[in-house]
């Protein structure tokens, strides 16, 4: 029997070996955790903060560790229980059910942390847990910062507050420095989970091969997959998903009898362009994975199916188009140029001093600037050829454009006099709209726009 890398006197070697096989590439972190936890009845560090990038195995490792070693624990996702009350109640409910399966006591309202401490003591005291450390794992702990100010410091000191053998584990994607409240608090023990390297990814992904095919065959496939996707995506879950989606295509030559499992070059030639296409479509969620699978089955070209970003054109009523164009011009042209672009007899402007230095950088790089309603309407009246009556319909269209998120209101929403807006659409969008209205769009618009572009 192989000696396990993990060693701990409190647990049998077989369990540890099993645990090790479940958490590949995370052995050092696990052994670190085990040594902090100590034996079952020993008091552990009051709070542990574990951080690391997305899908670096924080949640998975914690869950497997606690489950395999059968340690009493409570696992809560802070996104799901979005208020402190929900969170505390959920912990109590889980505590009740994890200790005594038999009775489902009616749920007790828990409004404050004070109540929580009291109820927690009761719950722990009544169970046979006194001699074991209880672990409370709070996943996505960054949400705690948005709850009441006392929640996070209180959790960090829970051991002291309740005087029970309990350890709180916080899992997060951001570093501890961003958590620390400015009033100060108990510093938890921090532990970093580094990203998986390409070798780690290869190892982990190859582990779960389909039963019909050999491990080597699948490992070769994973190798190709990582070759394509590693540059853009290191998310283990996403890679796993992509691997499953495209595996049937990889096997196709083998199933059809055109190649055998060792014919790597042929298989590579078959799959590589396919994966590249997947990177542009499925990976970006341009088309959904079920659509992708359907395409694979029917052997269709992904070109037939238009992705989400292909549908960019938005049909707008006549005046909405002009309002949007006017808003765009107001957002990206300096106020001083309005007279020049939109007035018939604007007089001569000296070229040399016309542009100030800072205006010479492209306005598109600086982003839209806010403008008042009056300016928007003035430009609108100027760019529409015929007279526009200031009817309620025109004004309501501005509000509609705001709800459609094509414009956005700057400042507070209930400032009724002198509202200010920003145009949030891109140049391409405006171009597309202007093209459709080209017949009637006046030259002024064009001129103002081109002046804008080539600045």
């Amino acid at each position: 029997m192989k000696m396990p890398n993990l060693e701990h006197p409190a647990y049998p070697a077989a369990t540890l070996l099993h645990l090790e096989s479940l958490v590949p590439c995370r052995e050092s972190q696990v052994s670190m955790l085990l040594s902090i936890f100590g034996e079952r009845q020993q008091f552990s560090f009051p709070s542990i903060f574990i951080y690391g990038h997305t899908s670096s195995g924080k949640t998975y490792v914690m869950q497997t560790l606690l489950n395999t070693l059968k340690l009493p624990h409570v696992f809560v996702n802070c996104v799901e229980y979005f208020t402190s009350r929900l969170l505390l109640e959920e912990i109590l409910i889980q505590l009740q059910s994890c200790c005594s399966e038999a009775e489902q006591t009616s749920h007790v309202p828990c409004d404050s942390f004070n109540d929580f401490v009291r109820l927690f003591k009761q719950a722990v005291g009544s169970q046979e847990l006194q001699d074991q450390t209880l672990y409370i794992v709070l996943d996505r702990a960054e949400q705690l910062r948005e709850m009441e100010a006392n929640i996070l410091p209180a959790f960090l000191r829970l051991q002291e507050l309740t005087d029970r053998n309990v350890t709180v584990v916080l899992l997060s994607e951001i570093v501890w420095e961003l958590f620390r409240p400015n009033t100060g608090c108990f510093e938890p023990f921090t532990l970093y989970f580094p990203d998986y390297s390409i070798g780690h990814l290869q190892k982990i992904l190859s582990q779960s091969h389909p039963p019909e095919y050999s491990a080597d065959f699948y490992a070769a496939y994973i190798n190709i997959l990582l070759g394509v996707f590693y540059m853009v995506c290191r998310d283990l879950k996403e890679l796993q998903h992509l691997a499953v989606l495209n595996f049937s295509k990889y096997c196709e030559p083998v199933v059809n009898g055109e190649a055998n499992e060792r014919d790597t070059r042929k298989l590579w030639k078959n799959i590589e362009p396919h994966l590249k296409k997947a990177m542009q479509t499925v990976y970006l969620r341009e088309i959904s994975s079920s659509q992708w699978e359907r395409l694979q089955r029917d052997d269709g070209e992904p070109g037939q199916l238009k992705g989400l970003s292909a549908h960019t054109h938005v049909e707008l009523p006549y005046y909405s188009k002009f309002l949007l164009i006017a808003a765009y011009l107001a957002s990206y042209n300096p106020v001083r140029t309005d007279k020049r672009f939109f007035l018939k007899h604007h007089g001569k402007i000296r070229k040399t001093n016309f542009m100030k230095k800072h205006e010479k950088t492209s306005n598109h790089l600086l982003g839209p600037k806010p403008f008042p309603l009056d300016r928007l309407l003035a430009i609108l009246y100027s760019i529409v050829d015929n007279r526009v009556a200031p009817t309620a319909n025109i004004f309501s269209q501005i509000t509609s454009l705001v709800t459609l998120q094509l414009l956005s209101v700057v400042g507070h929403n209930d400032q009724l006099d002198g509202p200010r807006y920003k145009c949030t659409v891109s140049l391409d969008f405006i171009r597309a709209i202007a093209r459709y209205e080209h017949g009637s769009a006046s030259v002024k618009t064009e001129r103002a726009q081109t002046a804008n572009e080539y600045r």
């Binding site: 997305t54 996702n77 996104v79 799901e80 229980y81 979005f82 208020t83 929900l86 109640e89 959920e90 749920h107 779960s208 039963p211 998310d235 879950k237 996403e238 796993q240 998903h241 691997a243 499953v244 989606l245 595996f247 049937s248 970006l284 969620r285 959904s288 994975s289 079920s290 659509q291 238009k306 989400l308 970003s309 549908h311 960019t312 054109h313 938005v314 049909e315 707008l316 009523p317 006549y318 005046y319 909405s320 009556a389 200031p390 009817t391 309620a392 319909n393 025109i394 004004f395 309501s396 509000t399 509609s400 709800t403 459609l404 998120q405 094509l406 929403n413 209930d414 009724l416 006099d417």
Partner: protein
């Protein structure tokens, strides 16, 4: 409380009275105007039934148009969770991340129409897929907490509806006590589905035939754009963690473009979704169908005049793209017509109208005699007939019956010929008479279409059509006429068919002609003599100049002329027809006033010309001068119009007091009182603060004792 308004503001919600007898009350309004003598009740009843007919018709149209979309969605929902239900044991299902099936529903920018679509969508889903549907709106969900509350409230209530109130005690869990978290939702779902399984077998059959075994829970986000990023993200993240226990399907209602999903959700969240796209019909097509089915038929006795139709279409195209608003405008036309026109009692099906003519009162007969179109008709008659028409009611009634019949026949013919003309004009380059049939319809209603330049140029273009196009058009016209209800078209159809056969014979002749020309060419080659050659060339040239038209060209001319004659005969504008006032609604100004409100202009009119609203004879002014009897605010307003951007308050007060004083003491010597009267001062201050409230001026810090004007433009 919700409004259908798109703008911000204060809204008054009146408590709805328990039971209002709406119909009776409104019927009384109809009679109010002229002592109830003009068949008010009958008119009201006609109006109601007509509107009901229109309403059901439009709803039917909408349903037909949405059918394709709804079918696609239903099949998507059917498939969405079936895969996992069947093959959970397989390797690739086990390994794949379970994404939340999501339908991105692109509905177009006409947000007011979406409600109807969502209503029919949830109806269809309820009938075919699942009883568990929640409709969420952004304004109800500023935070994830509100969203969950709303979601659970809707889902748990829907259970009651489905199970026909059988076991109320189960559902009557007071909602405030339910913990609004995903776990309680899952518990609820489990208990509900388990219960279904243990139901009596007969009942189980009925439900399972309609719904799936474990029906998905459908959550519809009505206005995706307005949701905040955080709420959506959190919801997606939470529900993706429980997708195995709770088969959730999301539907995003999108008004702009599906790109909004990517801009609202980061990749880490959108990768949890399995998004498929569904596109609804464009609203322009919807409008065309409505116009086609509602206005260009003889089904409805009520018609829209040219100006009115133009106003409605303009509001649609220029402002909102909303078909619902178009229909509401149409409803307003109907009501306004029946309300304002006493003779609209005859605006019903022909058979009914004839009966009603017989029972018309004397007053109503006088009303008929007063109609301009009828007076024109009378003037055209011989003098004895004129007298009888104007004096004898019975004779008048007979004539009116005949005229109504004429009008009906005119409509029947009009529609067919209009469609026929549209076949021609819609395929011409640059569309001189418009691409859509509604444009052609407006042009024909406006005035004699054959007198317009556009018509002339389209005829010119039609004379240049090639043969295959012409033949297909003629065939289309034949179809239109055959299927039309008009009785006069037998001859027309015959004539058109004759044209078609002529074209076919032409084809046969074309070969022979070709031979002839070839032989003449050969003759030409034979001449080697220079003199002869010159002579024949000259002859050829001569013949070409005064060249006789080929047979095809002759025939083409004939066809176009024939169509022209049809147009001249049948597409006479409606207001040239006698008694058109009965069925046509033509007061566009009323409609414009109601539908295209101009608050600035109304305010200006009220302040500038108070007589317009107050109807006080003393205020009737004859021009720009400031009447001193007007309300104070009007005087202040008029004075401020004469100022520049900054207004000196002292000058303004002085001018104000001069105007007011001259009113009260016209002959008193003004210079005596240098100090302004306190009361006048107070009145002035009130007027100024009222103007500030209305947003015409605001206090300015640039100069002391000055206020800034917020509007531009003088009197």
């Amino acid at each position: 409380m919700s409004t259908c308004s798109v703008s911000k503001g204060c809204f008054v919600f009146k408590p709805s009275p328990k039971k209002r007898r709406v119909s009776q009350k409104t019927a009384n309004y109809f009679g109010e105007r002229k002592n109830g003598s003009d068949d008010a009740e009958l008119r009201f009843a006609t109006c109601q039934s007509l509107w009901n007919q229109i309403k059901s018709e439009t709803e039917q149209i909408q349903e037909d148009l949405n059918k394709q979309l709804l079918d696609n969605l239903v099949s998507f929902l059917r498939q969405s969770h079936s895969e996992f239900r069947e093959r959970t044991a397989e390797w690739n299902c086990r390994m794949k991340t379970r994404e939340i099936p999501t339908a991105a529903l692109i509905l177009g920018v006409n947000v007011t129409d979406h409600d109807l679509t969502f209503r029919s969508l949830s109806e269809v889903l309820q009938n075919n897929i699942t009883p568990y549907i929640a409709l969420l709106e952004a304004k109800d969900c500023p935070g994830i907490k509100n969203l969950m509350q709303k979601l659970m409230g809707q889902l748990m209530n829907c259970y009651v509806d489905v199970d026909s109130l059988e076991d109320e005690d189960y559902v009557q869990v007071s909602q405030s006590r339910i913990r609004c978290s995903m776990t309680s939702l899952i518990n609820w779902y489990e208990s509900v589905t388990k219960k279904k399984d243990s139901e009596t077998p007969s009942k189980k059959q009925t439900t399972s035939s309609r719904h799936l075994q474990s029906p998905p829970v459908v959550v519809i986000f009505k206005d995706m754009e307005s949701f905040t990023t955080k709420v959506l993200q959190d919801f997606v993240v939470i529900s993706s963690q429980h997708i195995r226990e709770l088969p959730l399907v999301l539907i995003f209602g999108i008004a702009t473009s599906p790109m909004i999903i990517h801009s609202l959700l980061p990749h880490s969240v959108s990768s949890l979704l399995c998004i498929e796209l569904f596109q609804s019909l464009s609203c322009k097509e919807h409008l065309s169908t409505i116009i086609d089915k509602l206005l260009l038929t003889t089904q409805l006795p009520f018609k829209l005049g040219e100006k009115v139709l133009q106003v409605l279409i303009n509001i649609f195209l220029y402002h909102d793209f909303s078909v619902q608003n178009f229909i509401k405008g149409f409803q307003l036309c109907v009501v306004e017509h029946f309300y304002s026109q006493p003779l609209s009692v005859l605006c019903c099906q022909l058979a009914d109208a004839k009966k009603r003519v017989n029972s018309l009162s004397h007053d109503q007969c006088e009303n008929i005699r007063r109609l301009p179109s009828f007076r024109r008709y009378v003037e055209r008659q011989v003098s004895e007939k004129q007298i009888t028409l104007l004096t004898e009611d019975n004779f008048l009634k007979e004539t009116v019956q005949k005229l109504l019949e004429d009008l009906h026949v005119y409509h029947e013919n009009y529609v067919s010929v209009l469609r026929c003309l549209h076949v021609f004009t819609s395929s011409l380059p640059k569309y001189p008479l418009g691409k859509q049939i509604r444009e052609l319809h407006c042009a024909c209603l406006e005035n004699r279409v054959w007198e317009t330049e556009e018509y002339e140029s389209s005829l010119q273009l039609a004379r240049m059509l090639n043969k295959s196009d012409l033949v297909t058009m003629l065939q289309q016209c034949v179809e239109i006429f055959v299927s039309s209800s008009g009785k006069e078209f037998d001859k027309t159809v015959e004539k058109l068919k004759e044209f078609l056969t002529q074209f076919q014979t032409l084809e046969a002749e074309a070969f022979q002609e070709h031979d002839v020309s070839v032989s003449s060419q050969k003759e030409l080659q034979k001449k080697t003599d220079l003199y002869h050659l010159q002579k024949t060339l000259l002859e050829l040239k001569e013949s070409r100049r005064s060249k006789k038209l080929t047979k095809f060209e002759m025939l083409r001319f004939e066809v176009v002329d024939y169509i022209d004659s049809l147009v001249r005969k049948y597409l006479v504008p409606a207001d040239h027809k006698t008694l058109h006032e009965i069925v046509y609604f033509n007061t566009a100004s009323v409609l414009r006033e109601h539908l295209n409100a101009a608050p600035r202009i109304a305010l200006h009119t009220a302040l500038n010309n108070p007589y317009c609203y107050l109807k006080n004879q003393a205020l009737k002014s004859d021009g720009g001068n400031i009447s001193n009897k007007a309300p104070d605010i009007c005087i202040a307003y008029k004075l401020h119009l004469e100022c520049g951007r900054l207004i000196n308050l002292v000058d303004w007060l002085e001018a104000f007091s001069t105007v007011v004083v001259s009113a009260e003491r016209p002959n008193a010597d003004v210079p005596s009182s240098d100090q302004v009267d306190d009361i006048i001062h107070a009145r002035f201050i009130r007027a100024v603060s009222e103007l500030e409230l209305l947003g015409f001026i605001k206090p300015s810090k640039q100069k002391t004792d000055h206020v800034a004007r917020l509007t531009w433009g003088g009197c």
